[in-house]
Subunit: 285 residues, 2 copies
């Protein structure tokens, strides 16, 4: 097996995809910021079941990081990532430099209102505009038939669904389930920041999500269950709980305070030191 082909310009990306198009092959794309783990690779494998060729992009997008966030220190190891991608069935890696994505005089931003307002949007001003703009660019550059995004960043997934519908991007957005360590911790590139002591506390987040979701699915009032969830996480050793909320799975409107009446999503961010752990689960009514 040769090395995974890597292209660094949108022109080269379009040339490669154009060859596949001329052979009437179906193309999938999985945008990533690198620092790949089993969660990303599951997206690649899912993509491969839905297309003839799979392109991964690797671009640590500066515009979705806020001041003081970890853009500079975000883990980068392209040759490791390329080897993992190839083993997972990737056919082409698109890894553009920043100048290729944001040329001289770049001045355009895409904003999505509504779904971007709470949770990550409130905690990270400008984050979702950065995400929406770069994802739209990548999808317009590649024009894949299908693009795969993980449910780990569930709010981001809903932003991307809204964006692609609103801008008429001719692509199917395919969600991929969260991949977890055996103890339940959702995989994340930022888990590498955890100390061993923090890592020991971390799995409690998923356990509480399951427990509280089960209580609410069984008829417990939402507001009280959310409060109990936050308290349980603080008792388990988390330093702060930024949110722990039942929301509409599509438009992310807040649910409660009473009993659940339809499908919901329970989304949470809990902090260990400076590391924010995101997780979420589906809640059956």
């Amino acid at each position: 097996m040769g090395k995974l082909p890597i292209v660094r310009t949108r022109a080269a990306l379009r040339r490669e995809i154009g060859v596949w198009r001329s052979e009437r092959l179906r193309v999938a794309m999985t945008p990533t910021m690198g620092a790949l783990h089993e969660g990303h690779l599951s997206l690649l494998r899912l993509a491969a079941t839905r297309a003839d060729r799979v392109v991964a992009s690797l671009f640590v997008n500066p515009t979705q990081f806020g001041p003081g966030e970890d853009f500079q220190s975000y883990p980068r190891d392209e040759s490791r990532d390329a080897a993992l991608l190839q083993a997972a069935g990737c056919d082409l890696l698109y890894a553009p430099p920043v100048e290729e994505m944001y040329g001289d005089g770049f001045a355009t931003a895409i904003t999505v209102s509504g779904v971007t307002a709470p949770m990550e949007g409130a905690a990270r001003p400008g984050h979702f505009s950065g995400v929406a703009t770069v994802v739209a660019k990548l999808l317009i550059q590649g024009l894949p038939d299908v693009a795969v995004f993980g449910e780990k960043d569930y709010q981001q997934l809903q932003v991307i669904r809204r964006l692609t519908a609103d801008l008429d991007l001719p692509v199917e957005i395919l969600p991929a389930p969260i991949v977890r360590d055996p103890d339940g911790l959702a995989l994340s590139s930022r888990n590498a920041y955890l100390t061993p002591a923090q890592r020991a506390v971390a799995p409690a987040l998923y356990r509480r999500l399951i427990e509280v979701a089960r209580a609410v699915a069984g008829g417990a009032p939402i507001a009280a269950a959310e409060t109990a969830g936050v308290e349980a996480l603080l008792a388990a050793g988390f330093d702060a709980v930024e949110y722990f909320e039942f929301r509409d799975p599509a438009d992310l409107a807040r649910l409660g305070p009473g009993s659940i009446s339809g499908p919901a999503r329970l989304l949470a961010v809990a902090r260990l030191g400076r590391t924010r752990l995101l997780d979420n689960i589906a809640v059956a009514a």
Copy 2:
């Protein structure tokens, strides 16, 4: 000759264009808001010289009109427009209803900074975001090889060039020169709002643009020439001059106050009653 085919959904638009694509035909698109005049038809004819098939869109876009502007009263006559388009060589009319362009829960906006700030952007808050969003949607829906926009709305043309470059839209933006009445008045759907007395004053705008541009090209200082231009227009009977400015032809940065040192664009808006007349000309250094 049969009637011009009209489609009303992006799915039908894509189906028709898809047939052409399968025949390897080159496709041009000319977005319009209807109320067609010879200026629009010149875009169509230019498009036909650069492509095998020409699609015109007709959509009076509500999001680019401000409160108190003429969205409700904007002239609409689709069957007249369709006949004119067909005679000018149009192959397909795309005339979507508002619900097709802005579906339930629509929440996405595209903004361009820099070129949108002065002139029309300052006079009409939100206008260019409405334009950028709808043009991006139309170009993504049709994915034409080339799209034609008139130089009459010169600032809009620069916004669209910036937008398509920044979002990597795979389309060539082709500018079309301003079409004028024999007395020099630039054609505009809004000229229909002019009274006979106002219509008699209107051609002075173009005459002053030529005169002032010639003076500056000959070495006159820009700021003084602009002031003289404004005064001449008020003396000619215009009710107000919103701007009359030499600007960089690409990024629209203001030029002056001294002599010109490179190519420029002279752009003006003068009002007759409530009607804003826009015009502009290229200035050779």
